[in-house]
Homo-oligomer: 407 residues x 4
């Protein structure tokens, strides 16, 4: 069907379905639309105890939290800078481009890097981790770096199983988990799961514009940091941030005033109104609807495939999909210009200069996303597949609404 | 399927799908988020010539436009107050509750009212109008009142055919058209169609919060107003508003500062960016998608019915639907609390105290609505029908995406 | 001092010191920055009882209030339309251009108008009113129209004294008071003062953008309305608005959604946080500071004069001042372009085409105005007088800060 | 005069006169009130070339600029981390608490720190710097750290004289200048003055909320960085930020979406509308008005003193003042609660636990500040001095308006 003679159906509220920044709730934007507040006295400094309590709740921990003005990459560096000196060894578990990125950052910091790469379409294998740690009798590996959900591959790794593997090996390495794409979206229980450092940022499940990041830190990690050799970056040093006596110390200087106002509103919504566990269930249900649609599109000689075949290893927050190149790019362009939906590009699956790059796209369903938004995105993809005559199986939307209701 | 044990999927941007106020674009809200502007000099007074030009463009007229600070009911009264004195006769054509409302207003103003009522599910019949006008040899009927789209019944009347009927009767009555629900959404050509007064308001196709209304006025109507007997309300009197020399005269007093800023942004989008005719096509396509879904839901012993059976008499801006009472109310409550979509109540089809009232609902697709929003709403309705086990036929969403693409 | 070679000092938050629209608080703008709300159910309809309670509190009445989507001119017409039919007689007391305006509106409505004009620089004389009413033995005068504060002349009339004059004459006429410029700014006690209709609008002491107006109505006025002859305008008819059973009835149609959200925030500030009587004291103190500065500028052969010589007849909300023409216009242009303050033009003191027109300006100190804003405006005027070498006495700002502190 | 029985005059737009965060223009807040934008394609990535051009213009350089998501402290660390490895030597010139802070940060990074401390009330002495550099025949000092304006002491250092001193000593050390409090407010010409690294942040002269910081980098500094030993922090490493090929590289990861939108609006105002040099003149004139008021308050046995006696060493952006303790704290509390102005606390002049701490306060006049705002703040301070019976000389405001007009 020649769609090009039809004018766009895109006039309306654009829907950004890329995996971060996610949709910022109107309440968060409104909270940020504020005159500059006083940073010395009054409401802003006074909000910190409750804010920290709610941040801890978001990671299911009673331990420590440090706030950074930075993006997630900054928090990656902060985690490493506090516990590793140049020459220290870490084990990096790679299941996507963001795992690679964190490892590269460690290397640039002078860390002695050991990597297990599990590809771009599969979760980490705890047995290999256990074997690797057993092969480190001198316990030189100071930390294990894992990605909970890799935003690029959209794989979700089994952190409790990873913890069990480390324990089985009897290895003292710290467990560092990048939860940038999962925190607030899917089950993550820092204390119960024995995670030592959780890394996250504001712009995904926390529904606040990019610019803040967070480390949740175990007592064990703090102890390790205090025994680290060499000078520690004052900006990344979590000690004054965790033990702040004055307001500016939480931020190592001037507070991120407007982000704090936005984050406060977002945590009210996530922790106090919807409830964290309810949000996890919501994301799980939305994800199942997306998968059901994808399965239908892929049936009957349809081209579409989910990047992660294993159902229990798929993220609930974002889904990477594959078409025959260049149909993913054609589809993305159609949905953005004709129907009001911006899909995410494929990331880390092929080089952007490689024609195969145009075979991947991602649909985010993280953060401030309800049934209306998710079903609308699926509806638009379905329309785009038809408009562009991309081979796809029928009944995807019906499958999605059915899946949305399964408990 | 018992849905009550499932937590809500509503956390996300709520989607208000009632037929006015419609979704206000972020740009319009941003434009209104402005310090109070100077009303004596500067940008605000200077915007008037372009604003009036674009308002005229919105009704496809080169004649006159008057702006009122009021809702649509105010504009109804303004139209009548300018051309009718107590005792004058008008012919009211009723095809839904809003037709009734305008007629009641005329009666309250002391106008001698003659009514043709075409029910709640059918358009007006031009032949009956012609016959009625022929039966007025003294030409006492000063005006014919018609509703282009009745927001309650969601019928669309054929205004060119109505004009032809008046002409066939050789009757000089003015043709007044309530386009509150249609202007900016569907084809309306004041000059080409020979309409004398078009009535509209800000909160539907013009995408601006309620509080402004408009009359587009023909030369013939102005002449009629000038020959009207008795005192004319200074607030409704369109003469100083149309012929304003000073800024305040456009508004009969203090200007509606923030609404003007919002309206300016909305007209930029509608007239200068999307284009009025393109917007009409968009609404037509969205409407066809809604009808296709409704037809599917109603097939195979499904309960759902469109209120307007005649396809060419259905509004492109809003669709009234019927289920077995109280399923419409159950559905509305489910979509609002579980999925983020607020549907419109049925209006004027039954008394709110009558159990049958709970059998009607309306889905708006007017104004700032793209494929994502409309398909999301249909997806949510589909999910709600399943969740509540309301009998419905299959394949509605597939039919909708298919229909969206038909030219 | 040649100021023209100096670049502007105006870059910063502009301060609009015209007498309406007044400065809109950030909280009010933020409240209005909201997606379109549901007008059938939920928070918006539910806010009405509290909103009406607080509106009544703002006029110190336990009687009735009607809300109109209109500007103040609309409310003028509403007041007249409810109690007067064409041919009825009213007595209009004119102390400035807005008094004239209301009278002209009455005449346009066909009302038989009798006027007492007290000039542009003095308050009304209760004795003359009493005499006039005594000279109406048939009690044909149905209403007395008074302006509490005339925004143009900035005179404040003594309403209790006016009430006493009416009572002294034993005349049953209704007392209508235009409090558009005073409500929320200076003492106004509808019930205690025996006022029958108070007229006000959103954009001055109520700190909300123009677009809403209000009538507070006594039982006596309602009775008078019910005995009025002829058809009553359905839009202005206060009965369904006062006795509304359904949400839309409060507004005679679609609700002014965003204005209601803004007004709610403004009333929270005025009634519940600052307190109405505290706001009156604030305005009184700010006014005294302005007068003290003006007296100083006018001393020592200074040119500046207050339009209202009698201290007890000056508004606390806005002050009209006079310079030798064209210095007022020069000063206004300087403050706006060089220093960030927009002063009000003189209104009603001379025709805009008359060179004398350029000798008047007004400084508003109404609504959301604190010591910082008022003193900044005085400081800028002082600077402008110096920059433009307009003759003025010294020490104005010192006098102002001193006066601000006098109880 | 007992002011306590008077209700507050603070209801109105609060004015935050602390030296950062400064007042955020409404346009900047509006620009930030935006849905999350696409970070992969479209308007946001495309804005970078112009944004960088305008950032370079703000520092009067044609060399390089790197953007960091961090506060100013982060940028301090970034500057050091790029050019110094642990063990390298720097010379720190301290003229206030922020000078101390940067030095402490260098020490924490393992840098070998040499300090010249010039106290808290005087600028640096170029001769001492020259002497110190001459006493480093091996040229081990890698960099000289200077503060252009110390936000705490409000001293302004003479950077061209410092450059001349370094040149006179024939020393190759890099010149690093902290311009956090001065950039956009007072003359700063990176290239003409021979500065190697300028450090600034978003929340002062750049009128954007805290959360972004900037390094402007000379070719010489880049060369020095490339010869630095040891691993360089990937987050602070300016190379990929300066030489970015992809959008995310400018920010070392996810872009600070909303801050970029805000900064764009702020640079439009500063660079393209007002003009940088005009802004400098505005700040100079506002500062002279503040000083004139302070001199008057200090005359005639008044208590008030400027912290920086030397007129040519005073900042144009912020002014530290002294009263007899605890009058500064009393004054700050009065202006905030009674008059709507929040003054800055004294910083670094005494320990907060020392009673003397209550003798200092600061008045900012940086960024989005016009004559109205500055004169209003002075008016409020004048009123507060009177209300609290703090000894002060007369005529301060008259002196201020006079000074404002001197070229």
């Amino acid at each position: 069907m020649p769609s090009d003679f039809l004018p766009s159906l895109g006039q309306g509220r654009p829907y950004l379905a890329i995996p971060g920044p996610s949709v910022v709730p109107d309440r968060v934007l409104n909270a940020m639309h504020s005159p500059a507040p006083n940073i010395y006295e009054g409401a802003l400094p006074q909000m910190m105890p409750d804010l920290l309590r709610d941040l801890r709740a978001a990671a299911c921990t009673r331990q420590h939290v440090a706030i950074y003005i930075s993006n997630g990459h900054g928090a990656w560096e902060a985690a490493l800078a506090n516990i590793c000196a140049p020459g220290d060894r870490v084990l990096s578990l790679v299941t996507g481009r963001f795992g690679t990125g964190w490892a590269e950052m460690a290397r640039a910091l002078g860390v002695n890097l050991q990597t297990l790469d599990f590809g771009r379409s599969a979760p980490l294998d705890p047995q290999q981790v256990e074997d690797t740690l057993r092969a480190d009798p001198e316990r030189k590996i100071r930390a294990v770096l894992a990605t909970h959900v890799d935003t690029a591959s959209t794989v979700r790794n089994d952190i409790p199983a990873l913890r069990a593997a480390i324990d089985a090996a009897g290895h003292p390495a710290l467990l560092l988990v990048d939860a940038i794409a999962s925190l607030g979206c899917e089950e993550l229980r820092m204390d119960a799961w024995g995670v030592d450092i959780v890394v996250a940022a504001s712009q995904k499940g926390l529904m606040t514009p990019p610019g803040l990041s967070f480390l949740w830190v175990s007592d064990k990690a703090r102890t390790a940091a205090d025994t680290r050799s060499g000078p520690r970056s004052p900006y990344w040093n979590w000690t004054p941030r965790i033990d702040a006596q004055a307001f500016y110390q939480y931020f190592g200087g001037t507070a991120p005033t407007h982000h704090l106002l936005g984050l406060r509103a977002a945590l009210d919504m996530l922790i106090h109104e919807e409830g964290l566990e309810t949000a996890w269930i919501r994301h799980a249900r939305l994800a199942r609807a997306v998968w059901a649609a994808a399965d239908a599109w892929g049936a009957d000689n349809g081209d579409l495939r989910l990047n992660i075949a294993r159902r229990d290893a798929r993220s609930h927050a974002v889904t990477s999909m594959r078409l025959t190149a260049p149909d993913a790019t054609r589809l993305r362009q159609w949905t953005e210009t004709q129907a009001g939906v911006t899909l995410g590009i494929g990331l880390g699956m092929a080089d952007p200069t490689d024609p195969a790059w145009h075979g991947y796209f991602r649909l985010a369903h993280m953060g401030h996303v309800n049934a209306h938004m998710a079903l609308g995105a699926l509806g638009v993809i379905d329309t785009g597949l038809k408009a562009l005559s991309i081979p796809h199986g029928p009944g995807a939307l019906d499958a999605a609404t059915q899946a949305l209701l399964s408990p």
